[in-house]
C-alpha cells in the first residue's frame, strides 16, 4: 500500500513524527521496532527502537501480539477496533482505547520485510459509544416501563399527529373495540363514535389541533359487543418550543357508570321538579342562607310573577301587607336557628284576591348541603268553612241559651200560678164538704197532680240553673261535709221511709270539684234511692268514696230498692223526662242532671241494677267512659 507512493518533498520522517496517530515499523521476521514516532512512544515506551516487539510490547494488548507472526507470514493486513491499552501498573483513568492496524510491507523482491503498526487513539469515541450504550439501556428500561404501564393501566392511551392521524393506540383500545391489530385507526375510530357525538368530537379535536391546545371531552364509543359506552378523552400536545406541536398524547377512560349515575341524579332532580311543578301547591326550595332558589310552576301561575320577579325573597311581598313584617322576621329567625318555619298568612293571587295559606318550611340535608324545602298550602276554603261553622255554632249556643232562659222564665212564671192554685185548692178542701167517696178520690188525685206540677216546675228551673253553673269554680271539697249537708236536707224523706244510711268516705275524703255540682249529684242520687225504695223493706243506702287501682276517685251510691231494667249498663240512657217507674212520683229530671254534670266535667256514670233487688250508681269523676 505504501509502496510506489511518491513521497512529498517535505521531510517525511518529521511529518510522521508529529502525526497525532502512533506510527511504528516492525522490521524483519523478528519484528524489531524500526521507526517509532512520538505518539507511539506513549504506547510502547522510550527506547523501543531495535527491540523485538515480543520482548517490548509496552501497553499493546496481547491479542495483537498473538496475531503478529500470522500477519507477517500471510501478508494480510489486520485491524482491531477500540483495543484497551493498559499501562503497567494499571490505573483506571489511564486506560485508553486505540484502533490498531497492522499493514505488511515488502522489500524490492516482493519478500515480506516488516509490518507497519498504526495506533489511533479512539478513547473519546469509545467513551461516547459506551455512554450511548448506557443511555440506550436506560432508554430501554424506560421504554419497557412505559410500555408495561400503557398496556396494563385500565385506560386506553393514544397518540395522534398534527394532521389528525392516529398513529398509536394502546392494546386496550383493540381489546375495548374488538378491532383487529391491523385496523386502520384513523379511519375506524370516528366510525366507532356514537353518531350523535361524532361531529362534536371531530370538531373539538380539530379545533384543539389548530390552536395547539389539549382537549377534554366525553363521548360514547362503541364497545366490542356493540354497546356504546361513555368515555372521557383527554389529550395534551407534546410541545418543543418554538415549534408548533406535532403530536398529541392522550388517554381515554371509561366513565359510563359515573355518567349514568349523574344522569340518573339529573333525571331524579328533573323528575322531582316535574312532580313539584304538577302539584297544585306553592312549593319552593331555599339555600341554607334562606335565599329562595326554586319556585314551582304553580307559584308563578298563582302569583302571576316570574321566578325572576319573585327573586330570592319575593315570596314575602305576596303576603298581605299587614303580615309581611312578621313573616319576614320569623323567616330570618328560622334561618338563623334552623328551626322549622310555620305560619298562616294571606297570599295574593294573580287576580288580587288574598287567600289564606299555611306556609311551612323545613331544613333538610340535600347531600352534603343544607337546604330549605317549603310549601304553602291553600287553607282558604277550610278557613271559610270553619268560619261558617263557628257562626252556626255561635247561633246555636245563643238559641240554646235563649231556650234555657225561656224555660227558666216559664217555670218561674208558672210557679206563682201553681202556688195560687195549690192555695185555692187547699182552701176549697178546707171549706167545702165532699160526701161522695169518689169525690174524695178525685181530691186526692188533684192534690197529687198539683204536687207533681210544682215539682216539675222546680226541677226545670234547677236544670237550667245547673247548666248555667257549669262554670262553677272548682275547689278541694271535703266529701264528708258535703254529704252531711245534703243528707240533712233529705232527712224528712229518710225518716218518713225509715231509711238506713251508711256513709264511708275515709278512703277518698277529698274531691276537686264544683261545690254546687257535687251537691246536685249527691242530692239527686240519694233522693232517687229514697224514692225508688222497695215497698217490702226499709231502704238501706250505702254511700262510699274510694279510689280505683289507677287512683281515680269514685263515688258510689248503692240501694236495695226496686232496681231497673238495664239495656246497657255502661251506657245507661238518662233522658230528660224518661222515667223507669211511672207509678212513682218524680220528674225524670234528676238522673239526666247527674249525667250531664258528670259528663261535662270529663267523668262518667255507671249503673249496676237488678230488678227487685237494688241499684248501684258509680260516679267516675275524672275519666270519660
Amino acid at each position: 500500500m505504501l509502496r510506489g507512493s511518491r513521497m512529498p518533498n517535505i521531510p517525511f520522517s518529521q511529518l510522521l513524527r508529529q502525526l497525532p496517530a502512533g506510527v511504528a515499523t516492525l522490521e524483519g521476521p523478528e519484528l524489531r521496532f524500526g521507526f517509532v514516532n512520538e505518539a507511539m512512544r506513549a504506547l510502547v515506551g522510550e527506547n523501543a527502537e531495535g527491540q523485538p516487539i515480543a520482548q517490548h510490547p509496552g501497553q499493546l494488548p496481547t491479542a495483537l501480539l498473538d496475531v503478529l507472526p500470522q500477519v507477517y507470514a500471510t501478508g494480510k493486513p489486520y485491524t482491531a477496533k477500540a483495543c484497551l491499552c493498559t499501562p503497567q501498573p494499571a490505573a483506571k483513568q489511564d486506560c485508553r482505547y486505540f484502533d490498531l492496524a497492522l499493514e505488511p510491507y515488502s522489500d524490492e523482491q516482493d519478500q515480506p520485510a516488516g509490518l507497519l503498526l498504526l495506533a489511533i487513539d479512539v478513547s473519546e469515541q469509545e467513551a461516547a459509544r459506551q455512554q450511548a450504550h448506557e443511555l440506550a439501556l436506560v432508554t430501554r428500561h424506560l421504554d419497557a416501563r412505559l410500555r408495561v404501564l400503557t398496556e396494563t393501566a385500565p385506560l386506553i392511551t393514544y397518540t395522534s399527529d398534527a394532521q389528525g392521524r392516529c398513529i398509536y393506540a394502546s392494546p386496550q383500545w383493540y381489546r375495548f373495540t374488538g378491532q383487529p391489530p391491523t385496523a386502520d385507526l384513523t379511519a375506524i375510530w370516528p366510525l366507532l363514535i356514537h353518531p350523535e357525538d361524532r361531529l362534536r368530537v371531530l370538531y373539538e379535536a380539530e379545533t384543539a389541533r389548530r390552536t395547539g391546545t389539549g382537549w377534554n371531552y366525553e363521548y360514547r364509543l362503541r364497545r366490542f359487543d356493540g354497546q356504546y359506552r361513555w368515555v372521557l378523552s383527554r389529550a395534551l400536545p407534546e410541545v418543543h418550543p418554538p415549534d408548533p406541536p406535532v403530536y398529541w398524547h392522550g388517554a381515554l377512560t371509561e366513565v359510563h357508570d359515573q355518567r349514568e349515575l349523574a344522569d340518573a341524579l339529573r333525571r331524579g332532580e328533573a323528575e322531582l321538579r316535574f312532580l313539584a311543578d304538577s302539584i297544585p301547591e306553592l312549593i319552593w326550595t331555599a339555600t341554607a342562607e334562606g335565599f329562595i332558589d326554586y319556585y314551582n310552576r304553580y307559584t308563578t301561575d298563582y302569583s302571576g310573577l316570574t321566578k325572576d320577579e319573585l327573586g330570592p325573597t319575593g315570596w314575602v311581598s305576596l303576603l298581605h301587607p299587614s303580615e309581611q313584617a312578621e313573616a319576614a322576621r320569623r323567616w330570618v329567625q328560622c334561618v338563623a336557628s334552623g328551626e322549622a318555619y310555620e305560619g298562616e298568612y294571606r297570599m295574593r293571587r294573580l287576580d288580587g284576591a288574598y287567600r289564606w295559606h299555611i306556609i311551612r318550611a323545613r331544613q333538610l340535608a340535600d347531600g352534603a348541603v343544607l337546604r330549605w324545602f317549603g310549601a304553602c298550602t291553600d287553607v282558604h276554603d277550610q278557613n271559610l268553612l270553619r268560619q261558617v261553622l263557628q257562626t252556626q255554632y255561635d247561633e246555636l249556643a245563643r238559641a240554646h241559651h235563649d231556650l234555657d232562659t225561656f224555660v227558666y222564665a216559664a217555670s218561674h212564671d208558672l210557679r206563682q200560678p201553681a202556688l195560687n192554685l195549690r192555695g185555692l185548692f187547699d182552701e176549697l178542701r178546707r171549706t167545702a164538704t165532699f160526701t161522695d167517696p169518689e169525690q174524695a178520690l178525685l181530691l186526692g188525685m188533684v192534690d197529687g197532680a198539683l204536687t207533681q206540677f210544682d215539682n216539675t216546675l222546680h226541677d226545670l228551673a234547677v236544670t237550667v240553673q245547673t247548666q248555667r253553673a257549669q262554670q262553677d269554680p272548682v275547689e278541694v271539697l271535703d266529701l264528708g261535709l258535703i254529704l252531711e249537708e245534703v243528707l240533712l236536707g233529705l232527712r224528712p224523706q229518710a225518716i218518713q221511709r225509715e231509711a238506713v244510711l251508711d256513709v264511708d268516705v275515709a278512703e277518698a275524703p277529698g274531691l276537686v270539684y264544683g261545690r254546687a255540682n257535687l251537691r246536685s249529684v249527691v242530692h239527686n242520687l240519694v233522693s232517687n234511692a229514697l224514692k225508688f225504695a222497695h215497698p217490702g223493706r226499709p231502704p238501706h243506702i250505702r254511700l262510699r268514696s274510694y279510689h280505683t287501682p289507677d287512683g281515680e276517685p269514685v263515688f258510689e251510691v248503692q240501694d236495695n230498692g226496686l232496681g231497673m231494667e238495664m239495656a246497657d249498663s255502661s251506657n245507661p240512657v238518662f233522658q230528660l223526662f224518661v222515667r223507669q217507674h211511672s207509678h212513682i212520683e218524680g220528674t225524670g229530671v234528676g238522673l239526666y242532671l247527674v249525667q250531664r254534670i258528670v259528663r261535662s266535667h270529663g267523668g262518667h256514670v255507671k249503673v249496676a241494677s237488678t230488678l227487685g233487688e237494688g241499684t248501684t250508681f258509680s260516679i267516675y269523676w275524672t275519666r270519660p267512659a
Binding site: 335565599f291 330570592p312 314575602v316 330570618v332
Partner: protein, 154 residues
C-alpha cells in the same frame, strides 16, 4: 335608579389595611358616582347592596365582579327602585384593631349598623337581613369562630 345585592368570598382574608383601603377608595369613588349602600365583611364573607343610576350601577357591578380580591360573586337581586334608601356608602366589619377605626367615616361594627331604612320594601329588607346573617352569623356582636358556609344557589 336601581339597586344590586350580591354575595361573594374573599380570595384571601382581608386585613384591616385592605379593608380601610377599600373603604376610602369606595367612599371616594361612590360619592363621585352617586352610589350609596352598604357592605358587610366577615371572615372572607362579603355581601354588598348598592344603589345608583342604572348605567353607573351596572358598570360598577361589572368592575367589582372582575375584582381579583374576591370570587364566587353571586348576584342576588338587580332591580329598578323608585328612590334611594341609603344616604351614603358604608362598610361594616370586625377590625382586628378596632381602635383605629372608631373615627373612620362610613365604618360600623356589625352590631352597630343602623336600622334598615323604612323605604326598603319588606322583601328587600329581609334580603339584606339574610345576607347580613350569612356574613356575620346569628350573633353579630361576636365575630363567628368559623366562617359560616356561604353556598351559592345553583
Amino acid at each position: 335608579m336601581k339597586h344590586i345585592v350580591y354575595i361573594s368570598r374573599a380570595v384571601r382574608p382581608l386585613s384591616d389595611r385592605d379593608l380601610e383601603e377599600l373603604l376610602t377608595q369606595s367612599r371616594r369613588d361612590n360619592a363621585r358616582n352617586g352610589i350609596t349602600g352598604v357592605l358587610f365583611y366577615s371572615h372572607g364573607n362579603i355581601a354588598q347592596l348598592f344603589e345608583g343610576e342604572p348605567a353607573i350601577a351596572d358598570s360598577l357591578f361589572e368592575r367589582i365582579a372582575r375584582d381579583g380580591r374576591h370570587s364566587h360573586v353571586h348576584k342576588l337581586i338587580d332591580r329598578p327602585i323608585a328612590a334611594r334608601s341609603f344616604t351614603g356608602w358604608s362598610m361594616a366589619f370586625h377590625p382586628l384593631e378596632p381602635a383605629g377605626f372608631a373615627t373612620l367615616e362610613g365604618f360600623f361594627l356589625p352590631h352597630h349598623v343602623p336600622a334598615l331604612p323604612e323605604t326598603l320594601s319588606i322583601a328587600d329588607a329581609m334580603l339584606v337581613e339574610l345576607v347580613r346573617l350569612a356574613v356575620f352569623g346569628a350573633d353579630p356582636t361576636q365575630p363567628p369562630q368559623a366562617a359560616p358556609p356561604v353556598q351559592l344557589g345553583s
